[in-house]
Amino acid sequence: MASQSLDIARRSATTTQPPNVRGDVPKVAKLIDISKCIGCKACQAACMEWNDYRDKVGTCNGTYNNPPDLDADQWTVMRFTEYEPEGGKLEWLIRKDGCMHCADPGCLKACPAPGAIVQYGNGIVDFHEEHCIGCGYCITGCPFDIPRLSKKDGKAYKCTLCSDRVAVGLEPACIKSCPTGALVFGTKDDMIHHAEGRIADLNSRGFAQAALYDPKGVGGTHVMYVLPHGDKPEIYDRLPKDPGISPWVSVWKGVTKPILGLGLGVIALGGFIHYVTKGPNEADDEDAKEDKHERR
């Protein structure tokens, strides 16, 4: 792997020039091949071990989703969906959910705390919890509903793409643990190339719409999926078809400063607060419509 500089390319609520003496470093990516994932949760276990967090022992909610959702103590979960289209074959879709490491991260743009969210030169989006003020704006800014506030310290947590491992030339813990090769890691270019081979294989097995999920609405992502049904991302437990950052976040972002430029910011803030409290109604409705397959 090429050198993985931890140079910070972007920093929340910060306008100073980022360091760039090393120039461009290669972008990295994790590729999640849904067609190879058996839902064994080894990656989930590895994430707990490497990052040293432990959720509580919960209960079974009548599905295989355990724990049932992302949490400050659960940075990745497998989402199981039983998909049986009218007249079609039953499929058990299993999607590893977690931060997508957006090239254009809504979380970072929405964050008002300087340096609580950073993006490294290699594309990884990381939360630096010591700067987090616990406002939860990142949650609202995220088109994938990823960050979670901890009930213990009130700060936001999510997948780091194992930035500490990547920085020293190791693959993320989940990648190392995956027994089937459903998870692969490398430069984004290599991962796109790898995905092309997988898509050709899926095409030959009758998945004519197999595709790479690297949504443009967030500038592409550093976590990508190979989707057998590439035309229907929403069947994979509500993976958004066309994710984007709410325009309010962009406006808000435009005025976000270490100290708020109050006069200019007021209107934007009003809109943003509405967005934060009421949520992106439009998107939600669409999600609800698409959510016709129960989670299993």
Binding site: I38, V57, L90, W92, D201
Partner: protein, 806 residues
């Protein structure tokens, strides 16, 4: 496995049936994804549930639990009637042309010789016709109506697609689609690999299910081929090693057997095991039995095993019957067994009918539990509310718990499904007072020996004369034990071709079992492991991944028994002339003067093809058997019998003989079987990826990933019963009940069987009342106390329950 894990990647078609590799063997399953990604392989999954493996399958077909012989028998019928077999292979490498005793027959569900009072067969008619030369008569044209091929055709002619579908509940078109996919691999350049596990073994017809699969593979010519074979996926990391070392009541190491009560004559004991060839020119490798056996006795008894005392033959126990676990707990339950040592397993959770197991343990005077964990068994006498509702004041059993180390806390070798002995190193110190198993056993042995030495007793010799030459007698080292099972020369060994040449000096480690002698000049603790620790050192610790063939034949990685051979019967990967059936699967071939290649030939290395030696060298015929003579007790051809608890209360093939007539059933257990009238649903038990047996509920991360006991039911049954996902339900069998969360799923569909709708209830096994996961009921509260007719593996996979909202 006939083949090995890595070799799965060479298959064109993978059939997972009687197992759920993605769920229970996720790391091995990667070779299926390799085959799919790089060889364009197709994956078929056949299972009552659309499981994790099915999620990866190119084709899934449902089947009713316990009916796999009907399905595979139907495949045999399809292959024979559509002429989709490898003719040359079948003719040269199987007993298809062998002539069978004219008195043999099969009628109305029974083979000839059935004795109802004994629930057993007189197997004398299940035999070959022998010619005046003493060899079996063979009709190479296979036209004789008494040849195996024609008897097999007749036997499976009944297994039409209609019949299969009626018994299995598999829709006919899906069954036929699977047949077509399988049939394609009858081409010599295509292979099918079959992966199975406890979904085949845990039935009263388990042995025969596996045999049916082997028959399919023989018809297709897929045994001995890279990417072929019948591959057992072993569960515990060393359960393969357990069978290899003979830790069964009737076995000795290396698949040798203990004598039965009437076998008091040493020479006769050897003779019936050292099988003479049934056809001219055959190797019949078991002829070497005396060498393996004498060397074992020399390893155990050293100088006390002499020619004059028949190498201590009298020291060996002589069995009146087989003491499998069901027999043992039956005796305990009857109060005929007073003490029990339970090392590394958890019978209260792992054996069927928990009420009976708990009741049996309560009749013991003492119970010794050797385990790294505080198992349910070790606390069977404690009250854990509804999960273990017993009255401790009524139980007098004295329990000794001896904490042992787990695999990560010791050096040693584990044998995996691939038959590889892989050495591993201690990764952590054991906690508290935990001791390694050899140390615990040594402590008990040394004390016993001291008592026998002091007090004598009826027959102290087997104990006081046992070889115990370890550097620290109270703590034998894994390295010492490994060297012992490899074996060593006790006198100088010379080259058979040149007796003046000394190959090994006395005291040196053997190179392989080929050097074993029946004259007491070699010692070997387990002949099939010979070669694992030679004068070159610890062969099991090798980690060379070099694979010159590209087929995963990494001969420098660890040690594979036997003789570091990776694919068994690999002579059959070549045609009779010694040329590979498929040039891309060239693992060995005849080079004009000997057998060479990327694997170790499973054959006499210099036997030219013209000599007509068969590739199945362990068989006295030299060929594989469709008709299996008297080697299994419930019939020379596999036949479909219903589980003892059947949801259809009949056997559509022969209503008078419903379940396996040769399976042993104890009286109390017969009475504890339920019927479909009271318990209408077919139930099956299984494992989940997130857990390993009853161990990982003691581990926090696993408990987080799968915290609470659940049962799986289909949407249709849920609707009928008014249940929804997340409800608490009660599942009852005639032996007890459990309560758990309902997982309601599209992945279990009702099947139409013999005109009746059959629902399946799935019950994972992992919960209990010890550990950090949420407490749960022991699943084996529900399961029936009856085992496979041949090897007594309990019928955990097919029984009857009722279900209701709790």
């Amino acid at each position: 496995m006939t083949n090995h894990w890595v070799d799965i990647k060479n298959a064109n078609l993978v059939l997972i049936m009687g197992g759920n590799a993605a769920e229970a063997h996720p790391c091995g399953f990667k070779w299926v994804t390799e085959a799919k990604a790089h060889k364009g392989a197709q994956l078929i999954v056949i299972d009552p549930r659309f499981n994790r493996s099915a999620a990866m399958a190119d084709y899934y077909a449902p089947i009713r639990t316990g009916t796999d012989i009907a399905f595979l028998g139907g495949v045999i019928h399809y292959l024979l009637s559509h002429d989709k077999i490898n003719h040359e292979y079948v003719k040269a490498y199987t007993n298809a042309g062998y002539l069978v005793n004219s008195a043999y027959g099969f009628e109305d569900g029974l083979f000839t010789g059935y004795e109802p009072a004994k629930r057993a067969y007189d197997k004398s008619t299940w035999s070959y016709v022998k010619g005046p030369d003493g060899y079996v008569e063979v009709d190479a044209t296979m036209t004789d109506p008494r040849c195996v091929m024609n008897l097999m055709k007749a036997h499976y002619a009944r297994y039409t697609p209609e019949v299969v579908s009626n018994i299995c509940g598999t829709p006919q078109d899906q069954f036929l689609h699977v047949c077509e996919m399988i049939a394609e691999t009858s081409a010599p350049t295509k292979t099918l690999t079959i992966m199975y596990a406890l979904g085949w073994t845990q039935h009263t017809v388990g042995t025969q299910m596996i045999r049916t699969a082997a028959m399919v593979q023989l018809l297709l010519g897929n045994i001995g081929m890279a990417g072929g074979g019948v591959n057992a996926l072993r569960g515990h990391s060393n359960i393969q090693g357990l069978t290899d070392l003979g830790l069964m009541s009737n076995l000795l190491p290396g698949y040798m057997t203990l004598p039965m009560e009437q076998e008091t004559d040493f020479q006769k004991y050897l003779e019936v095991r050292a099988l003479k060839p049934l056809r001219p020119g055959q190797l019949s490798y078991w002829q070497n039995y005396p060498k393996f056996h004498v060397s074992l006795m020399k390893a155990w008894y050293g100088d006390a095993a002499t020619k004059d005392n028949d190498y201590a033959f009298d020291y060996l126990p002589k069995l009146d019957k087989i003491y499998d676990i069901l027999q043992v707990f039956e005796l305990m339950h009857q109060g005929k067994m007073n003490g029990y040592f339970c090392q590394g397993f958890n019978p209260l959770a792992s054996f069927p009918n928990k009420a009976k197991i708990g009741g049996a343990l309560a009749k013991l005077k003492y119970l010794v539990v050797i385990d790294p964990l505080a198992t349910e068994t070790s606390e069977f006498w404690q009250n854990f509310g509804p999960y273990n509702d017993v009255d401790p004041t009524k139980i007098q059993t004295e329990v000794f718990r001896l904490p042992s180390t787990c695999f990560a806390e010791e050096n040693g070798s584990l044998v995996n499904s691939s038959r590889w002995l892989q050495w591993h190193y201690q990764g952590a110190d054991p906690p508290g007072e935990a001791k390694a198993d050899p140390e615990i056993v040594a402590g008990i042995f040394l004390k016993l020996r001291e008592l026998y030495r002091k007090e004598g007793g009826a027959f102290p010799d087997p104990i006081v004369n046992l070889t115990w030459n370890y550097a620290i007698p109270a703590a034998p080292h894994p390295e010492e034990l490994a060297r012992e099972y490899n074996g060593r020369a006790l006198a100088d060994l010379t080259d058979p071709a040149d007796p003046t040449k000394v190959v090994l000096k006395a005291g040196q480690q053997l190179d392989s079992f080929a050097q074993l002698k029946d004259d007491g000049s070699t010692a070997c603790g387990c002949w099939i492991f010979s070669g694992a620790w030679t004068e070159k050192g610890n062969i099991m610790a090798r980690r060379d991944t070099a694979d010159p063939s590209g087929l995963g034949e990494t001969l420098g990685w660890a040690f594979a028994w036997p003789a570091n051979r990776r694919i068994l019967y690999n002579r059959a990967s070549c045609d009779p002339a010694g040329k590979p059936w498929d040039p891309r699967r060239d693992i060995i071939h005849w080079n004009g003067s000997k057998w060479v290649g990327f694997d170790v030939p499973d054959f006499k290395p210099d036997s030219a093809p013209a000599q007509d030696m068969g590739p199945f060298i362990m068989q006295p015929e030299g060929v594989a058997r469709f008709f299996t003579l008297d080697k299994v007790i419930d019939g020379p051809f596999p036949e479909h019998y219903e589980p003892f608890e059947t949801p259809i209360s009949t056997n559509p093939l022969h209503p008078k003989v419903v379940s396996n007539p040769a399976a042993r059933v104890f009286k109390d257990d017969l009475e504890a079987f339920g019927t479909a009238k009271d318990f209408p649903y077919a139930a099956t038990t299984y494992r989940l990826t997130e857990h390993f047996h009853f161990w990982t509920k003691h581990a926090k991360i696993n408990a987080i990933l799968q915290p609470e006991q659940f049962v799986e039911i289909g949407e249709e049954l849920a609707k009928e019963k008014g249940l929804k996902a997340g409800d608490q339900v009660m599942v009852r069998s005639n032996r007890g009940f459990l309560k758990a969360v309902a997982v309601v799923t599209k992945r279990i569909k009702p099947l139409t069987v013999n005109g009746k709708t059959v629902h399946t209830v799935g019950v994972p096994i992992h919960w209990g009342f010890k550990g950090v996961a949420k407490n749960g009921y022991i699943t084996n509260t529900l399961t029936p106390y009856v085992g496979d007719a041949n090897v007594q593996t309990p019928e955990f996979k097919s029984f009857l329950v009722d279900i209701e909202k709790a």
